[in-house]
Every structure is written in structure tokens, then in C-alpha cells.
């Protein structure tokens, strides 16, 4: 178990190296800091002096890989590559590019807590709601309920999440005035602001997930052990709940695991629509403000979380299904 974990972590580390290299090439080789400065200053007032100043302020004025002007180990550490790429592994994210934004690390820590408040309930409720919906469809398979349930799923998954948000906001916040339109407050009042985004987030993915889970369960239902269970005289509900569901949980967990990074990163669209100051809206603001340092950091952080979630999912396998041995 421990050896498996260590091996997975080591592989994850090499993947992270690859991601880091990719972002470095993308942000510093394809387009040099000069280009970024030009875009960031913008307009016609770009002069070499301004570009130089912009680079000094943000620490992009150092050599790319090797600093001849320094002594000893500083030759290596006083470079863009070291400061902007290697130090990410120590979770040292440095400073944002735009003038008002400060230290990225502190901001990330603060905002991740907010994102978790929104995304964790969504993640758990999503898993439960979709599984229950799929179980109902599978229980009534071959009947009108199944047919129209799947039709409903297809219609629901054809509607963009943006429509759910705008219509939901209009209906619940403006017409019925049940919840505030958008915003966020700390403490217990947060619930008032979060309930609508949670609900709409659930709805927007229910169609996709429930249909997928239904397919996974139907895949299991044709197998021999299910027939044996029925032959023993177990009721359909028990067959589904005890046998089919448990075996379908493995593919379900795999697909749900893909969403785990977003539990921490938050949903870009939902957070920005509802003005929730989590990591998702942080990214959106960074993109619209063309703050490359933040985007780069989030790419790294995102893949780190992705790798960790997949290791978590693997651990969950052995918990769900004792036959799975991690070695």
C-alpha cells in the first residue's frame, strides 16, 4: 500500500515536471516577457523604457536560465526559470503581474476556503442525486418512466450551464426574491448566498451524470452475479442497492474523480456569475486582466490537484471494492 502510494506520488511528480515545462515554454519561450509587457501596458504608449520598467517591477528582467552576473548558487536561482518555475514546487507562487494584486499564495489560501464552501456540497450532492436518479431509471428500465427519464436527461444536457444560471437567477432571486441575486458573506450567512449556485450547479450537470451512471449500472445488470442474486429470490430493490450499485461505484467514482480538482479550484462560471470570491472568479479576473502570473500559477495548482485527486480515487477503489489490491 505504502509502496504503491510512493510510486504513484513519484509518477505524479514527473507529470508535474512536464506540466511545469509546458507552461514555462508557453509563457516564456513562445512569448517573451517583452511581448507580455507590451500587451499589458497596451495602446500606443509602449516604449522600451516602459517595458524595461514593467519587467523590473515584476522580476522578469533576469536572464532566462543562467545568471552570469551572480556568484555561486545565485547563478542558478536568480533567473526567471528558477523563480517562476522551480519555486512553484515549493508552493511559492510569487507576486501577481497586475499592480493592485498582491502575493498569489496568500490570495489562493484565502479564496480556496470560499471555493470549498461552494464546491464541496455540489460535489457530494451531485454524486448522491445523480446516483439516486440513475437507480430510479434502472429500477423502472423498459418502462415509460425510464424512457421519458432518459429523454429528460438528454434535454437537460443539451442546455448550457449559462442558461441555468441566468434563468435560475431571474426566477429565484428576482421574481420570487427567495435568495439574494449574487454576492457573498462569511460565516453562517454564506448559506443564503450559496444555496442557489449549489442548486443550479446540481441541475446543470444532472442530465449528463445521471445518464452516464444509468449506463454504468445497466452494464452491470446483465452480469451473472446479478442473475444469481435474483435466483436466490432477492427483491429487485436489494439486487440494485446491494449488488449493482456497489459494482457500478467503481466507474462512477472514476468519472466523479475528474471533478475533484474543481472542488478546490471552484467553478469558474458559477463563482463569477454569483460574485463569489473563490478561486474560480480569481482566474476569470486574472484572464480578463491578462495577469499571466496568476494564470500560470493556477495551471500548476490545477494539475497538482488533479494528480492528487486521482490518487485519492485509487484509494477509494480499494475501500469500495476489497478485491482491488493496490500494489
Amino acid at each position: 500500500m505504502l509502496r504503491y502510494l510512493l510510486r504513484r506520488l513519484a509518477y505524479g511528480f514527473t507529470i508535474l515536471l512536464g506540466v511545469n515545462l509546458l507552461t514555462f515554454v508557453l509563457f516564456f519561450q513562445v512569448n517573451t516577457p517583452d511581448d507580455m509587457a507590451r500587451l499589458n501596458i497596451g495602446g500606443k504608449r509602449v516604449t522600451p523604457e516602459l517595458i524595461a520598467k514593467w519587467k523590473v517591477e515584476r522580476g522578469y528582467d533576469k536572464p532566462m536560465y543562467w545568471n552570469e552576473a551572480r556568484e555561486g548558487s545565485d547563478k542558478l536561482t536568480q533567473t526567471i526559470f528558477w523563480e517562476r518555475s522551480v519555486s512553484l514546487f515549493a508552493l511559492d507562487f510569487g507576486r501577481a503581474d497586475s499592480e493592485s494584486a498582491g502575493d498569489i499564495g496568500a490570495e489562493v489560501a484565502k479564496r480556496m476556503a470560499v471555493s470549498l464552501q461552494l464546491a464541496l456540497p455540489v460535489f457530494l450532492l451531485q454524486l448522491i442525486a445523480s446516483t439516486v436518479f440513475a437507480l430510479v431509471l434502472v429500477f423502472f428500465r423498459g418502462t415509460r418512466i425510464d424512457f421519458w427519464g432518459v429523454v429528460l436527461c438528454v434535454v437537460m444536457l443539451s442546455i448550457s450551464a449559462l442558461f441555468y444560471i441566468v434563468i435560475g437567477q431571474y426566477l429565484f432571486a428576482r421574481v420570487l426574491k427567495l435568495v439574494p441575486v449574487s454576492g457573498y458573506a462569511g460565516g453562517l450567512t454564506a448559506a443564503k448566498f450559496l444555496i442557489l449556485p449549489v442548486l443550479l450547479s446540481l441541475l446543470s450537470r444532472l442530465g449528463t451524470e445521471a445518464r452516464l451512471y444509468r449506463a454504468m449500472m445497466l452494464e452491470e445488470i446483465g452480469k451473472d452475479y446479478v442473475r444469481t442474486a435474483r435466483a436466490k429470490g432477492l427483491s429487485e430493490a436489494i439486487v440494485l442497492g446491494r449488488h449493482v450499485l456497489r459494482n457500478a461505484l467503481i466507474p462512477i467514482l472514476t468519472s466523479a474523480g475528474g471533478y475533484l480538482p474543481y472542488v478546490f479550484l471552484g467553478s469558474l462560471v458559477f463563482e463569477s456569475f454569483f460574485a463569489i470570491p473563490g478561486l474560480g472568479s480569481y482566474v476569470i479576473d486574472a484572464i480578463s486582466g491578462q495577469d499571466f502570473a496568476i494564470v500560470r500559477t493556477m495551471v500548476f495548482l490545477g494539475s497538482l490537484l488533479y494528480i492528487l485527486s486521482y490518487i485519492l480515487v485509487d484509494l477509494a477503489y480499494s475501500w469500495v471494492d476489497p478485491r482491488v489490491r493496490l500494489a
Binding site: S158, L218, S303, Y306
Partner: protein, 495 residues
């Protein structure tokens, strides 16, 4: 003489259309492929979806012939020298000239003859706040309050009648095609064939397809009839016609859906098959590549790439002449980015399938005969994974259209000057918070986008059911199942 402009995306769309035709020709000559495709259309929903998609495709292709008008010669211009307008137009713009050029001042309700917001106007020495008459919408009415409803009914009715006529003609034009394709319709008198088709007693659900086409004709007729004098779906805050915007957005959605899913194919197919066939270190490297790519959350990776493209375009203004070309280059790049970042899933699938295929007898036999690796991959592996590629591509199409809206909202989608569903929703978001509510722009985006995505999804489901033997068992069925009823109907009827 107008100057024709071939935008990057135009070339790709026409290329995709040519490729589709070539594929159709190929399918006709391959009995097993035509059998599979017949299976797709045996499903009524897929048949209707095909009709809807074909309609949108026609709109897209009309919108993909671009040109710049020649400007009238001015004094002092050398003979034979022609200058062209900076505005790039398409054939669709010409067809919808009424909608494209009749710009009002600001918001107006669908089919309205007056503006949405009040302006101050002096009436008999007294300043009053009134709704101004629109410049184009309902401008032909002398006494709008009395004539308006009657005029709407007259134009709408005329449009519907024309639509119904077109639908009827379509039935007559389509009948020979249906008779050629359908055993229950060929070899019987025309009247009987028509009766069978309308009673849905034939092999393929022609009736469902025709009803969809008829509905589309009626809607189009209505839109043309009413559009002759009004803004059918109102105007937005700059006074642009919303119906026209929605139709233009269809092309953007099609470009993203087609191009981005096609752009993934070269990487996915080549690397997937190579990894599965050679195994060993080739496999390791390729697996490492796609794990790295797929471990970055998609939106972030795309955002990072798009930011870089923005910097690149800013640095190279020589690559485009007009605003339209710049926007086009941007969407082209966006599709490439979506392709470069999105190949991991299909690649993994193809690798697994190739690992399975390479152990099969016929591949082993080919190896034993000394057939080269490349030849085996090309002749024996590739044809046997094409169905996976096909299913994946059609499934991606609708997902990418949905994705476009989100990306445009995030600010890394298409150029703001280009009409897109994402842009319309983005605008609609502010309009929904106005009082009184401006609902038409958002609703138009909703209806058009859901129609397009739903059709794409139903079509994709049909394709998956027909080409993936495992998926067929997952289809929800009522009682006997459609195919069963159909066969019973065909054989039970005595001709």
C-alpha cells in the same frame, strides 16, 4: 466586381463538407457501412435531428462565402484600379440584407413598430416621454395602432402558406429518394408509397423527417414573412437585429464544433495507434504526453494558450487585413488550441483498442506473412477503429458548442466582434436584470442553441447506437421497441 475572400474557417468548412460528401460516396460502395448508417436513421429522433442539422448546415455554408464589395470609383482614381470595402460580407448577409442593414437606435421588442425605451418628444409645444417609431420595423404602417395586428396576421399568414407549400414540394421531391432507399416504398404505385410513407409504414421513419422539415419550412416561412416588415426577434441595445445575430451565431458554433473535433483527430489517431501497436517505450512516452496534457484542468490550459495567441496576434498585425479576418484567425487558432489540448481522451481509447486488436488472429497472420508495421496499422488497425473515431467526433460536436459559450463568457472564446451564442448569453445576462425585462436576445440564443445542441446530441446517440454494439443495449425502449414494431408493421401489411 466584388473581391471574394476565403477566410481560414471558410476553407475548413467547405473542406469538411467535401469530406462528408466523399465519405457518403465511400459509404454507398461499402455494404456494411451503408447498413450501419441505415441503422442510424431507423431511429426517428436521429432522422429528425439530421434534418435540423442539415438546415443549420445550409445556413452555415451560406454564411461561409465571403466577399468585399467594390467601392464606386472616386475622382482621381486611376482607371482599372478598384478599391474594396473594408466590411466583409457573406451570401447570408445578402439574403438577409433587410435584417443585416436595418439598424435601429436601440432595443425594440420582437415585431414591434416602436422603440423599447421612451424618449422626450415635443408634441404640440409640450414635452412628453413617448416610445419613438422605429426607423425600419413597421415603418410602412400609416396608423400603426389600428393596422399593426392585421398587418402581422397578413404577413405571417402569407409566410406560413409559403412555408407549407415549400414543405409539400419537399415531400414530392424527397419521395423518389425515399423510394430508392426503402424496400417498403419501392416497386409499388406512387400513391400507395405516399400513403405508406405518411402512415409511417416503411423501413425508415421518413414521416418523422418530413414533419421536422415541414416544421422548419413553416418557421422559416413565418420568419421571412414577418421579417419583411419587422424585426422578428427584436433588436439589441445597439439596434442590431437579434434574429440575424442568432443565425450568424450558428456558423460560429458549427466552426467550433467541426474544426475543433477534427483538429484532435491527427494526434489522437496517430499517437493512439502507435502507442498500442509498438508498446514499450513508445507507449510510455505517449502515455506520459497525454497524462501531462489531461492533468491540467481544461479551461485553464485553453485560457493560457488563448492568452498567448492574443499576444502573438498583437505582435503580427500583418497576418490580417480586416477586422473580420482578425476575428477569423482568432477562432481558427482557438479551434487549433482546442484540438491540441483535447486529444487525450480519444488517444487513450484508441490505444486500448489497438492493444486489443493487435492480438487478434488476422493481425497475427499479417505479421506472420511479414507485412510491415506501418502497413498493418494502416490497413488492419485503422479501419477497425474508425467507428470509435466517428462516435467520438459526433459526440464531441455538441460538447464543443456548449464549451464555446462558456469560453466566450470566460473571455477566452471567439472575438467579441463575432456573433456567437456565448456573446449573446453574455449580453442577455445584463438584459435580464433590466426593468422592464429585455428577454428576447437571451431567449433567441436559448432556442437556437438548444435546437442545435439537442439535434447534435440525438444524432450522436443514433450514431453511437448504430456503430457501437455495446451501446445498443443501453437504449431505453418502450415495450416492443421501435425497430420491432417497424418490422411487424412492414410485414403485416398486404400490398
Amino acid at each position: 466586381m466584388p473581391k471574394f475572400v476565403v477566410l481560414w474557417t471558410d476553407a475548413v468548412l467547405w473542406g469538411a463538407w467535401a469530406a462528408t460528401l466523399a465519405y457518403a460516396w465511400h459509404v454507398r460502395r461499402q455494404p456494411h457501412l451503408s447498413a450501419s448508417w441505415r441503422k442510424v436513421w431507423r431511429d426517428g429522433a436521429a432522422m429528425s435531428a439530421t434534418v435540423v442539422l442539415a438546415f443549420f448546415m445550409v445556413v452555415t455554408l451560406l454564411d461561409s462565402v465571403h466577399f468585399r464589395r467594390a467601392l464606386p470609383p472616386t475622382a482621381g482614381q486611376a482607371a482599372g484600379q478598384v478599391f474594396h470595402a473594408t466590411r466583409t460580407e457573406s451570401v447570408l448577409d445578402v439574403l438577409l440584407a433587410g435584417q443585416a442593414n436595418q439598424q435601429e437606435a436601440t432595443y425594440s421588442r420582437p415585431l414591434s413598430y416602436q422603440g423599447f425605451t421612451r424618449v422626450s418628444e415635443e408634441v404640440g409645444g409640450e414635452v412628453r416621454r413617448v416610445h419613438p417609431r422605429l426607423q425600419y420595423g413597421g415603418a410602412h404602417l400609416q396608423d400603426p395602432e389600428r393596422q399593426w395586428l392585421g398587418d402581422l396576421a397578413w404577413r405571417g399568414g402569407l409566410g406560413l402558406a409559403a412555408g407549407a407549400l415549400a414543405g409539400g414540394l419537399l415531400l414530392l421531391a424527397g419521395l423518389p429518394l425515399a423510394r430508392r432507399q426503402d424496400a417498403a416504398l419501392s416497386g409499388v404505385p406512387t400513391a400507395l408509397a405516399l400513403r405508406r410513407l405518411l402512415a409511417d409504414r416503411c423501413e425508415l421513419p421518413w414521416r418523422a423527417g418530413w414533419i421536422t422539415a415541414l416544421l422548419l419550412c413553416l418557421l422559416a416561412g413565418l420568419a421571412v414573412g414577418l421579417g419583411s416588415g419587422y424585426h422578428v426577434l427584436g433588436t439589441d441595445n445597439l439596434g442590431n437585429d437579434v434574429f440575424y445575430q442568432a443565425l450568424k451565431s450558428v456558423r460560429t458554433a458549427f466552426v467550433i464544433g467541426t474544426m475543433a473535433s477534427v483538429a484532435t483527430l491527427p494526434f489522437a489517431i496517430a499517437l493512439g495507434i502507435l502507442a498500442g501497436w509498438y508498446r514499450g517505450w513508445v507507449d510510455e512516452v505517449i502515455q506520459y504526453l497525454y497524462t501531462v496534457l489531461s492533468s491540467v484542468p481544461n479551461v485553464l490550459l485553453i485560457a493560457a494558450c488563448v492568452l498567448m495567441v492574443q499576444v502573438f496576434l498583437d505582435k503580427h498585425p500583418e497576418l490580417f487585413e480586416t477586422g473580420a479576418e482578425r476575428a477569423d484567425l482568432k477562432i481558427f487558432m482557438l479551434c487549433l488550441i482546442l484540438g491540441l489540448t483535447g486529444w487525450a481522451g480519444l488517444c487513450r481509447l484508441l490505444r486500448g483498442e489497438t492493444l486489443k486488436l493487435r492480438e487478434l488472429d488476422y493481425v497475427q497472420a499479417a505479421t506472420a506473412f511479414g507485412v510491415g508495421s506501418l502497413r498493418i496499422m494502416h490497413r488492419h488497425i485503422l479501419p477497425n477503429v474508425v467507428h470509435l473515431v466517428l462516435i467520438n467526433t459526433v459526440l464531441d460536436f455538441s460538447a464543443l458548442i456548449l464549451y464555446e459559450a462558456v469560453l466566450s463568457y470566460v473571455g477566452v472564446g471567439v472575438d467579441p466582434s463575432m456573433n456567437s451564442f456565448g456573446g449573446m448569453i453574455n449580453m442577455g445576462r445584463d438584459e435580464m436584470s433590466r426593468d422592464p425585462l429585455v428577454w428576447w436576445s437571451f431567449s433567441a440564443a436559448f432556442v437556437f442553441m438548444v435546437a442545435l445542441v439537442l439535434a447534435a446530441n440525438l444524432f450522436a446517440d443514433g450514431v453511437r447506437d448504430a456503430f457501437d454494439p455495446r451501446a445498443r443495449n443501453l437504449r431505453p425502449r418502450l415495450g416492443l421497441g421501435r425497430a420491432g414494431q417497424r418490422r411487424a408493421g412492414v410485414t403485416g401489411e398486404s400490398a
